[in-house]
Symmetry: C2
Protein backbone atom coordinates (compact mmCIF):
# COMPACT_ATOMS: atom_id res chain seq x y z
CA UNK A 1 0.00 0.00 0.00
CA UNK A 2 2.76 2.33 1.01
CA UNK A 3 4.73 1.36 -2.05
CA UNK A 4 1.74 2.06 -4.29
CA UNK A 5 1.34 5.50 -2.75
CA UNK A 6 5.02 6.07 -3.38
CA UNK A 7 4.56 5.18 -7.06
CA UNK A 8 1.60 7.52 -7.39
CA UNK A 9 3.41 10.49 -5.96
CA UNK A 10 6.49 9.76 -8.06
CA UNK A 11 4.26 9.93 -11.11
CA UNK A 12 2.75 13.21 -9.95
CA UNK A 13 6.21 14.66 -9.33
CA UNK A 14 7.38 13.61 -12.78
CA UNK A 15 4.21 14.93 -14.38
CA UNK A 16 4.62 18.27 -12.64
CA UNK A 17 8.19 18.55 -13.89
CA UNK A 18 7.15 17.87 -17.47
CA UNK A 19 4.19 20.24 -17.19
CA UNK A 20 6.59 22.95 -16.06
CA UNK A 21 8.53 22.34 -19.29
CA UNK A 22 5.30 22.72 -21.28
CA UNK A 23 4.56 26.05 -19.60
CA UNK A 24 8.10 27.19 -20.29
CA UNK A 25 7.65 26.16 -23.91
CA UNK A 26 4.35 28.03 -24.02
CA UNK A 27 6.06 31.17 -22.73
CA UNK A 28 8.74 30.94 -25.42
CA UNK A 29 6.14 30.45 -28.16
CA UNK A 30 4.08 33.41 -26.93
CA UNK A 31 7.16 35.62 -26.86
CA UNK A 32 8.18 34.43 -30.35
CA UNK A 33 4.77 35.31 -31.80
CA UNK A 34 4.72 38.77 -30.21
CA UNK A 35 8.33 39.49 -31.17
CA UNK A 36 7.79 38.33 -34.75
CA UNK A 37 4.70 40.54 -35.07
CA UNK A 38 6.64 43.45 -33.59
CA UNK A 39 9.52 42.84 -36.01
CA UNK A 40 7.01 43.04 -38.85
CA UNK A 41 5.42 46.20 -37.51
CA UNK A 42 8.65 48.07 -36.74
CA UNK A 43 10.66 46.55 -39.63
CA UNK A 44 13.20 45.32 -37.10
CA UNK A 45 15.36 42.78 -38.91
CA UNK A 46 17.53 42.11 -35.86
CA UNK A 47 14.50 41.13 -33.80
CA UNK A 48 13.30 38.92 -36.66
CA UNK A 49 16.69 37.19 -36.77
CA UNK A 50 16.49 36.59 -33.03
CA UNK A 51 13.04 34.98 -33.34
CA UNK A 52 14.33 32.65 -36.05
CA UNK A 53 17.32 31.76 -33.91
CA UNK A 54 15.25 31.19 -30.77
CA UNK A 55 12.98 28.68 -32.51
CA UNK A 56 15.77 26.13 -31.98
CA UNK A 57 15.20 26.36 -28.22
CA UNK A 58 11.48 25.71 -28.74
CA UNK A 59 12.22 22.66 -30.88
CA UNK A 60 14.70 21.37 -28.30
CA UNK A 61 12.14 21.78 -25.52
CA UNK A 62 9.58 19.81 -27.52
CA UNK A 63 12.08 17.02 -28.03
CA UNK A 64 12.85 17.03 -24.31
CA UNK A 65 9.16 16.93 -23.37
CA UNK A 66 8.47 14.03 -25.74
CA UNK A 67 11.40 12.11 -24.29
CA UNK A 68 10.46 12.83 -20.67
CA UNK A 69 6.92 11.67 -21.40
CA UNK A 70 8.14 8.44 -22.99
CA UNK A 71 10.43 7.92 -19.99
CA UNK A 72 7.54 8.61 -17.64
CA UNK A 73 5.32 6.06 -19.38
CA UNK A 74 8.06 3.42 -19.41
CA UNK A 75 9.11 4.03 -15.81
CA UNK A 76 5.80 4.66 -14.04
CA UNK A 77 3.45 2.64 -16.26
CA UNK A 78 0.52 5.05 -15.82
CA UNK A 79 -2.95 3.78 -16.74
CA UNK A 80 -6.40 5.27 -17.29
CA UNK A 81 -6.54 9.00 -16.63
CA UNK A 82 -2.83 9.28 -15.76
CA UNK A 83 -1.92 7.80 -19.13
CA UNK A 84 -4.40 10.11 -20.85
CA UNK A 85 -2.74 13.05 -19.14
CA UNK A 86 0.74 12.10 -20.34
CA UNK A 87 -0.52 11.57 -23.88
CA UNK A 88 -2.21 14.98 -23.70
CA UNK A 89 1.06 16.60 -22.68
CA UNK A 90 2.71 15.06 -25.73
CA UNK A 91 0.00 16.39 -28.02
CA UNK A 92 0.12 19.85 -26.46
CA UNK A 93 3.90 19.99 -26.90
CA UNK A 94 3.44 19.06 -30.58
CA UNK A 95 0.84 21.84 -30.92
CA UNK A 96 3.20 24.37 -29.38
CA UNK A 97 6.04 23.29 -31.63
CA UNK A 98 3.91 24.03 -34.69
CA UNK A 99 3.03 27.46 -33.28
CA UNK A 100 6.74 28.14 -32.87
CA UNK A 101 7.23 27.27 -36.53
CA UNK A 102 4.55 29.77 -37.52
CA UNK A 103 6.25 32.50 -35.47
CA UNK A 104 9.54 31.67 -37.19
CA UNK A 105 7.84 31.83 -40.58
CA UNK A 106 6.32 35.20 -39.68
CA UNK A 107 9.78 36.47 -38.74
CA UNK A 108 11.19 35.27 -42.07
CA UNK A 109 8.45 36.96 -44.05
CA UNK A 110 8.82 40.17 -42.02
CA UNK A 111 12.38 40.49 -43.32
CA UNK A 112 11.22 40.09 -46.93
CA UNK A 113 8.38 42.57 -46.35
CA UNK A 114 10.73 45.14 -44.85
CA UNK A 115 12.27 45.43 -48.35
CA UNK A 116 8.90 46.35 -49.90
CA UNK A 117 6.59 49.36 -49.77
CA UNK A 118 4.39 48.98 -46.70
CA UNK A 119 0.68 48.23 -47.07
CA UNK A 120 -1.39 50.80 -45.17
CA UNK A 121 -2.30 49.57 -41.70
CA UNK A 122 -1.49 45.94 -42.47
CA UNK A 123 1.37 45.40 -40.02
CA UNK A 124 -0.64 46.97 -37.21
CA UNK A 125 -3.61 44.72 -37.92
CA UNK A 126 -1.38 41.65 -38.04
CA UNK A 127 0.14 42.64 -34.72
CA UNK A 128 -3.29 43.01 -33.10
CA UNK A 129 -4.29 39.62 -34.44
CA UNK A 130 -1.06 38.12 -33.07
CA UNK A 131 -1.78 39.63 -29.64
CA UNK A 132 -5.29 38.14 -29.62
CA UNK A 133 -4.04 34.73 -30.56
CA UNK A 134 -1.29 34.80 -27.94
CA UNK A 135 -3.89 35.53 -25.24
CA UNK A 136 -5.91 32.60 -26.58
CA UNK A 137 -2.88 30.31 -26.40
CA UNK A 138 -2.04 31.50 -22.89
CA UNK A 139 -5.62 30.87 -21.73
CA UNK A 140 -5.63 27.41 -23.28
CA UNK A 141 -2.46 26.51 -21.36
CA UNK A 142 -3.82 28.02 -18.13
CA UNK A 143 -7.00 25.98 -18.62
CA UNK A 144 -4.80 22.92 -19.01
CA UNK A 145 -2.86 23.52 -15.80
CA UNK A 146 -6.08 24.28 -13.87
CA UNK A 147 -7.93 21.40 -15.64
CA UNK A 148 -10.66 24.00 -16.21
CA UNK A 149 -13.08 22.68 -18.85
CA UNK A 150 -15.17 25.84 -18.73
CA UNK A 151 -12.21 28.07 -19.51
CA UNK A 152 -11.24 25.65 -22.26
CA UNK A 153 -14.75 25.83 -23.76
CA UNK A 154 -14.40 29.62 -23.72
CA UNK A 155 -11.12 29.39 -25.66
CA UNK A 156 -12.86 27.29 -28.30
CA UNK A 157 -15.57 29.92 -28.70
CA UNK A 158 -13.12 32.81 -28.82
CA UNK A 159 -11.11 31.18 -31.59
CA UNK A 160 -14.04 32.14 -33.77
CA UNK A 161 -13.10 35.80 -33.22
CA UNK A 162 -9.60 35.10 -34.53
CA UNK A 163 -11.16 33.46 -37.58
CA UNK A 164 -13.22 36.60 -38.11
CA UNK A 165 -10.13 38.81 -37.80
CA UNK A 166 -8.49 36.63 -40.41
CA UNK A 167 -11.44 36.88 -42.78
CA UNK A 168 -11.50 40.67 -42.39
CA UNK A 169 -7.77 40.91 -43.10
CA UNK A 170 -8.20 38.60 -46.04
CA UNK A 171 -10.71 40.96 -47.65
CA UNK A 172 -8.56 43.98 -46.84
CA UNK A 173 -5.47 42.50 -48.49
CA UNK A 174 -7.45 41.35 -51.49
CA UNK A 175 -8.77 44.88 -51.95
CA UNK A 176 -5.20 46.23 -51.93
CA UNK A 177 -4.23 43.66 -54.54
CA UNK A 178 -7.15 44.49 -56.79
CA UNK A 179 -6.46 48.21 -56.47
CA UNK A 180 -2.80 48.10 -57.36
CA UNK A 181 -0.93 45.12 -58.81
CA UNK A 182 2.28 46.41 -57.23
CA UNK A 183 0.79 45.41 -53.87
CA UNK A 184 0.31 41.80 -54.87
CA UNK A 185 3.62 40.37 -53.68
CA UNK A 186 3.52 42.06 -50.30
CA UNK A 187 -0.15 41.13 -49.83
CA UNK A 188 0.60 37.49 -50.61
CA UNK A 189 3.11 37.45 -47.76
CA UNK A 190 0.65 39.21 -45.47
CA UNK A 191 -2.03 36.68 -46.40
CA UNK A 192 0.18 33.78 -45.47
CA UNK A 193 1.12 35.49 -42.22
CA UNK A 194 -2.54 36.04 -41.34
CA UNK A 195 -3.35 32.45 -42.25
CA UNK A 196 -0.55 31.16 -40.02
CA UNK A 197 -1.70 33.28 -37.08
CA UNK A 198 -5.19 31.91 -37.61
CA UNK A 199 -3.66 28.43 -37.46
CA UNK A 200 -2.07 29.26 -34.09
CA UNK A 201 -5.65 29.90 -32.95
CA UNK A 202 -6.56 26.43 -34.21
CA UNK A 203 -3.73 24.95 -32.15
CA UNK A 204 -4.96 26.87 -29.07
CA UNK A 205 -8.35 25.29 -29.75
CA UNK A 206 -6.78 21.86 -30.06
CA UNK A 207 -5.13 22.37 -26.66
CA UNK A 208 -8.47 23.48 -25.20
CA UNK A 209 -10.08 20.34 -26.60
CA UNK A 210 -7.42 18.22 -24.89
CA UNK A 211 -8.38 19.91 -21.61
CA UNK A 212 -12.07 19.11 -22.17
CA UNK A 213 -11.09 15.55 -23.02
CA UNK A 214 -9.05 15.24 -19.81
CA UNK A 215 -11.75 16.68 -17.57
CA UNK A 216 -14.85 15.21 -19.18
CA UNK A 217 -13.35 12.03 -20.64
CA UNK A 218 -14.57 12.77 -24.18
CA UNK A 219 -13.86 15.23 -26.96
CA UNK A 220 -16.42 18.03 -27.53
CA UNK A 221 -18.78 16.81 -30.22
CA UNK A 222 -20.15 19.95 -31.82
CA UNK A 223 -18.01 20.98 -34.72
CA UNK A 224 -16.95 24.59 -34.51
CA UNK A 225 -17.93 26.78 -37.44
CA UNK A 226 -14.82 26.90 -39.63
CA UNK A 227 -14.52 28.70 -42.93
CA UNK A 228 -10.76 29.26 -43.14
CA UNK A 229 -10.95 32.19 -45.50
CA UNK A 230 -12.78 30.26 -48.18
CA UNK A 231 -15.97 32.22 -47.52
CA UNK A 232 -14.00 35.45 -47.36
CA UNK A 233 -12.54 34.74 -50.76
CA UNK A 234 -15.97 33.90 -52.18
CA UNK A 235 -17.36 37.14 -50.80
CA UNK A 236 -14.46 39.06 -52.29
CA UNK A 237 -14.93 37.31 -55.58
CA UNK A 238 -18.59 38.32 -55.65
CA UNK A 239 -17.61 41.89 -54.94
CA UNK A 240 -15.03 41.71 -57.67
CA UNK A 241 -17.41 40.44 -60.32
CA UNK B 1 10.05 -17.33 -19.34
CA UNK B 2 7.10 -18.69 -21.22
CA UNK B 3 4.89 -15.94 -19.79
CA UNK B 4 7.35 -13.26 -20.87
CA UNK B 5 7.37 -14.65 -24.38
CA UNK B 6 3.60 -14.59 -24.30
CA UNK B 7 3.62 -10.90 -23.36
CA UNK B 8 6.05 -10.04 -26.14
CA UNK B 9 4.03 -11.72 -28.84
CA UNK B 10 0.80 -10.18 -27.52
CA UNK B 11 2.44 -6.78 -27.93
CA UNK B 12 3.55 -7.66 -31.45
CA UNK B 13 0.08 -8.85 -32.34
CA UNK B 14 -1.50 -5.64 -30.99
CA UNK B 15 1.10 -3.53 -32.75
CA UNK B 16 0.44 -5.29 -36.04
CA UNK B 17 -3.29 -4.66 -35.68
CA UNK B 18 -2.78 -0.96 -35.04
CA UNK B 19 -0.25 -0.71 -37.88
CA UNK B 20 -2.86 -2.23 -40.20
CA UNK B 21 -5.17 0.63 -39.17
CA UNK B 22 -2.43 3.14 -39.99
CA UNK B 23 -1.99 1.63 -43.44
CA UNK B 24 -5.75 1.73 -43.98
CA UNK B 25 -5.75 5.36 -42.91
CA UNK B 26 -2.87 6.05 -45.30
CA UNK B 27 -4.85 4.49 -48.15
CA UNK B 28 -7.86 6.70 -47.39
CA UNK B 29 -5.72 9.84 -47.22
CA UNK B 30 -4.00 9.01 -50.52
CA UNK B 31 -7.37 8.43 -52.21
CA UNK B 32 -8.74 11.68 -50.74
CA UNK B 33 -5.80 13.70 -52.12
CA UNK B 34 -6.08 12.16 -55.59
CA UNK B 35 -9.88 12.51 -55.67
CA UNK B 36 -9.77 16.12 -54.49
CA UNK B 37 -7.19 16.98 -57.16
CA UNK B 38 -9.32 15.22 -59.77
CA UNK B 39 -12.42 17.10 -58.61
CA UNK B 40 -10.48 20.34 -59.12
CA UNK B 41 -9.24 19.31 -62.54
CA UNK B 42 -12.57 18.01 -63.88
CA UNK B 43 -14.77 20.50 -61.94
CA UNK B 44 -16.59 17.56 -60.39
CA UNK B 45 -18.58 18.95 -57.46
CA UNK B 46 -20.04 15.57 -56.56
CA UNK B 47 -16.59 14.05 -56.17
CA UNK B 48 -15.54 17.06 -54.08
CA UNK B 49 -18.56 16.56 -51.82
CA UNK B 50 -17.63 12.91 -51.39
CA UNK B 51 -14.06 13.79 -50.37
CA UNK B 52 -15.37 16.22 -47.76
CA UNK B 53 -17.78 13.60 -46.46
CA UNK B 54 -15.15 10.85 -46.36
CA UNK B 55 -12.82 12.92 -44.19
CA UNK B 56 -14.99 11.90 -41.24
CA UNK B 57 -13.85 8.29 -41.70
CA UNK B 58 -10.21 9.44 -41.65
CA UNK B 59 -10.77 11.41 -38.44
CA UNK B 60 -12.54 8.43 -36.86
CA UNK B 61 -9.63 6.15 -37.79
CA UNK B 62 -7.17 8.53 -36.18
CA UNK B 63 -9.21 8.58 -33.00
CA UNK B 64 -9.34 4.79 -33.03
CA UNK B 65 -5.57 4.49 -33.57
CA UNK B 66 -4.82 6.92 -30.72
CA UNK B 67 -7.09 4.97 -28.41
CA UNK B 68 -5.70 1.57 -29.40
CA UNK B 69 -2.17 2.89 -28.82
CA UNK B 70 -3.09 4.21 -25.38
CA UNK B 71 -4.73 0.85 -24.60
CA UNK B 72 -1.64 -0.94 -25.84
CA UNK B 73 0.65 1.13 -23.63
CA UNK B 74 -1.56 0.67 -20.58
CA UNK B 75 -2.08 -3.06 -21.13
CA UNK B 76 1.33 -4.21 -22.36
CA UNK B 77 3.58 -1.65 -20.69
CA UNK B 78 6.10 -1.57 -23.55
CA UNK B 79 9.52 -0.07 -22.84
CA UNK B 80 12.54 1.06 -24.86
CA UNK B 81 12.17 0.47 -28.58
CA UNK B 82 8.65 -1.01 -28.27
CA UNK B 83 7.44 2.14 -26.55
CA UNK B 84 9.20 4.28 -29.17
CA UNK B 85 7.35 2.34 -31.85
CA UNK B 86 3.94 2.92 -30.31
CA UNK B 87 4.66 6.62 -29.86
CA UNK B 88 5.75 6.77 -33.51
CA UNK B 89 2.48 5.20 -34.60
CA UNK B 90 0.61 7.92 -32.70
CA UNK B 91 2.64 10.65 -34.38
CA UNK B 92 2.21 9.12 -37.82
CA UNK B 93 -1.57 8.90 -37.32
CA UNK B 94 -1.60 12.59 -36.35
CA UNK B 95 0.40 13.40 -39.51
CA UNK B 96 -2.05 11.49 -41.68
CA UNK B 97 -5.02 13.21 -40.07
CA UNK B 98 -3.57 16.59 -41.04
CA UNK B 99 -3.05 15.38 -44.61
CA UNK B 100 -6.71 14.35 -44.69
CA UNK B 101 -7.66 17.88 -43.61
CA UNK B 102 -5.64 19.32 -46.47
CA UNK B 103 -7.41 17.04 -48.96
CA UNK B 104 -10.75 18.15 -47.55
CA UNK B 105 -9.70 21.79 -47.86
CA UNK B 106 -8.64 21.19 -51.48
CA UNK B 107 -12.06 19.68 -52.18
CA UNK B 108 -13.79 22.73 -50.64
CA UNK B 109 -11.74 25.16 -52.69
CA UNK B 110 -12.29 23.12 -55.86
CA UNK B 111 -16.04 23.79 -55.54
CA UNK B 112 -15.44 27.54 -55.19
CA UNK B 113 -13.00 27.48 -58.12
CA UNK B 114 -15.48 25.63 -60.33
CA UNK B 115 -17.61 28.82 -60.22
CA UNK B 116 -14.75 30.92 -61.62
CA UNK B 117 -13.01 31.23 -64.96
CA UNK B 118 -10.29 28.58 -65.08
CA UNK B 119 -6.63 29.57 -64.93
CA UNK B 120 -4.71 28.09 -67.87
CA UNK B 121 -3.04 24.82 -66.96
CA UNK B 122 -3.36 25.40 -63.21
CA UNK B 123 -5.62 22.48 -62.30
CA UNK B 124 -3.46 20.07 -64.29
CA UNK B 125 -0.30 21.28 -62.53
CA UNK B 126 -1.98 20.97 -59.14
CA UNK B 127 -3.05 17.44 -59.98
CA UNK B 128 0.48 16.45 -60.98
CA UNK B 129 1.81 17.91 -57.75
CA UNK B 130 -0.84 15.98 -55.78
CA UNK B 131 0.18 12.75 -57.52
CA UNK B 132 3.85 13.31 -56.63
CA UNK B 133 3.07 14.01 -53.03
CA UNK B 134 0.81 10.94 -52.74
CA UNK B 135 3.67 8.75 -53.98
CA UNK B 136 5.90 10.37 -51.38
CA UNK B 137 3.38 9.66 -48.63
CA UNK B 138 2.96 6.07 -49.79
CA UNK B 139 6.72 5.53 -49.81
CA UNK B 140 7.04 7.04 -46.33
CA UNK B 141 4.44 4.59 -45.00
CA UNK B 142 6.06 1.67 -46.83
CA UNK B 143 9.41 2.69 -45.32
CA UNK B 144 7.74 2.66 -41.93
CA UNK B 145 6.28 -0.84 -42.32
CA UNK B 146 9.60 -2.16 -43.67
CA UNK B 147 11.59 -0.15 -41.08
CA UNK B 148 13.71 0.92 -44.06
CA UNK B 149 15.83 3.93 -43.06
CA UNK B 150 17.35 4.18 -46.52
CA UNK B 151 13.96 4.45 -48.20
CA UNK B 152 12.97 7.00 -45.55
CA UNK B 153 16.07 9.07 -46.26
CA UNK B 154 15.12 8.99 -49.93
CA UNK B 155 11.65 10.34 -49.10
CA UNK B 156 13.25 13.22 -47.22
CA UNK B 157 15.36 14.10 -50.24
CA UNK B 158 12.48 13.82 -52.69
CA UNK B 159 10.33 16.19 -50.65
CA UNK B 160 12.65 18.85 -52.01
CA UNK B 161 11.21 18.18 -55.48
CA UNK B 162 7.71 18.85 -54.15
CA UNK B 163 8.99 22.12 -52.71
CA UNK B 164 10.37 23.02 -56.12
CA UNK B 165 7.04 22.20 -57.79
CA UNK B 166 5.38 24.48 -55.28
CA UNK B 167 7.80 27.32 -55.92
CA UNK B 168 7.28 26.99 -59.69
CA UNK B 169 3.49 27.06 -59.27
CA UNK B 170 3.80 30.01 -56.95
CA UNK B 171 5.57 32.04 -59.62
CA UNK B 172 3.12 30.91 -62.27
CA UNK B 173 0.08 31.99 -60.25
CA UNK B 174 1.70 35.28 -59.33
CA UNK B 175 2.30 35.98 -63.01
CA UNK B 176 -1.39 35.37 -63.74
CA UNK B 177 -2.34 37.75 -60.94
CA UNK B 178 -0.02 40.46 -62.17
CA UNK B 179 -1.25 40.07 -65.74
CA UNK B 180 -4.96 40.31 -64.98
CA UNK B 181 -6.52 41.41 -61.69
CA UNK B 182 -9.58 39.31 -62.48
CA UNK B 183 -7.40 36.24 -61.89
CA UNK B 184 -6.49 37.26 -58.35
CA UNK B 185 -9.25 35.50 -56.43
CA UNK B 186 -8.87 32.20 -58.27
CA UNK B 187 -5.09 32.37 -57.97
CA UNK B 188 -5.32 32.99 -54.24
CA UNK B 189 -7.28 29.75 -53.89
CA UNK B 190 -4.79 27.93 -56.12
CA UNK B 191 -1.92 29.30 -54.04
CA UNK B 192 -3.42 27.95 -50.85
CA UNK B 193 -4.07 24.61 -52.50
CA UNK B 194 -0.47 24.36 -53.69
CA UNK B 195 0.78 25.38 -50.25
CA UNK B 196 -1.34 22.69 -48.60
CA UNK B 197 -0.08 20.00 -50.98
CA UNK B 198 3.44 21.12 -50.18
CA UNK B 199 2.55 20.67 -46.50
CA UNK B 200 1.45 17.10 -47.19
CA UNK B 201 5.00 16.58 -48.43
CA UNK B 202 6.26 17.96 -45.13
CA UNK B 203 4.13 15.43 -43.28
CA UNK B 204 5.50 12.63 -45.48
CA UNK B 205 8.95 13.86 -44.46
CA UNK B 206 7.94 13.87 -40.79
CA UNK B 207 6.84 10.24 -41.16
CA UNK B 208 10.13 9.39 -42.86
CA UNK B 209 11.98 11.03 -39.97
CA UNK B 210 10.06 8.87 -37.51
CA UNK B 211 11.27 5.81 -39.45
CA UNK B 212 14.87 6.99 -39.26
CA UNK B 213 14.39 7.64 -35.55
CA UNK B 214 13.01 4.13 -35.02
CA UNK B 215 15.77 2.40 -36.96
CA UNK B 216 18.75 4.51 -35.96
CA UNK B 217 17.59 5.66 -32.54
CA UNK B 218 18.05 9.36 -33.34
CA UNK B 219 16.47 12.00 -35.55
CA UNK B 220 18.36 13.03 -38.72
CA UNK B 221 20.42 16.06 -37.81
CA UNK B 222 20.96 17.87 -41.07
CA UNK B 223 18.19 20.39 -41.62
CA UNK B 224 16.61 20.02 -45.01
CA UNK B 225 16.72 23.08 -47.24
CA UNK B 226 13.30 24.69 -46.76
CA UNK B 227 12.16 27.88 -48.39
CA UNK B 228 8.37 27.47 -48.33
CA UNK B 229 7.66 29.88 -51.13
CA UNK B 230 9.33 32.79 -49.42
CA UNK B 231 12.20 32.73 -51.89
CA UNK B 232 9.76 32.25 -54.77
CA UNK B 233 7.90 35.36 -53.69
CA UNK B 234 11.13 37.30 -53.40
CA UNK B 235 12.19 36.21 -56.87
CA UNK B 236 8.79 37.20 -58.22
CA UNK B 237 8.99 40.51 -56.45
CA UNK B 238 12.34 41.25 -58.03
CA UNK B 239 10.92 40.40 -61.44
CA UNK B 240 7.99 42.63 -60.74
CA UNK B 241 10.09 45.64 -59.79
Amino acid sequence: MNSEKHIVSAFDRDLEAVQALVMKMGGLVEAAMLDAAQALDTRDEELAARVRQDDKAIDALEEQIQQECARLIALRGPTASDLRTVLSVMRIAANLERCGDYAKNLAKRSVVLSQMSPIDGAAGSIRRMARSVVILLKDALDAYIARDARMAADVRLRDHEVDQMYNALFREFLTHMLEDARNITACMHLHFIAKNIERVGDHATAIAEQVIYLVEGRMPEDERPKESGISALSAASIRQE
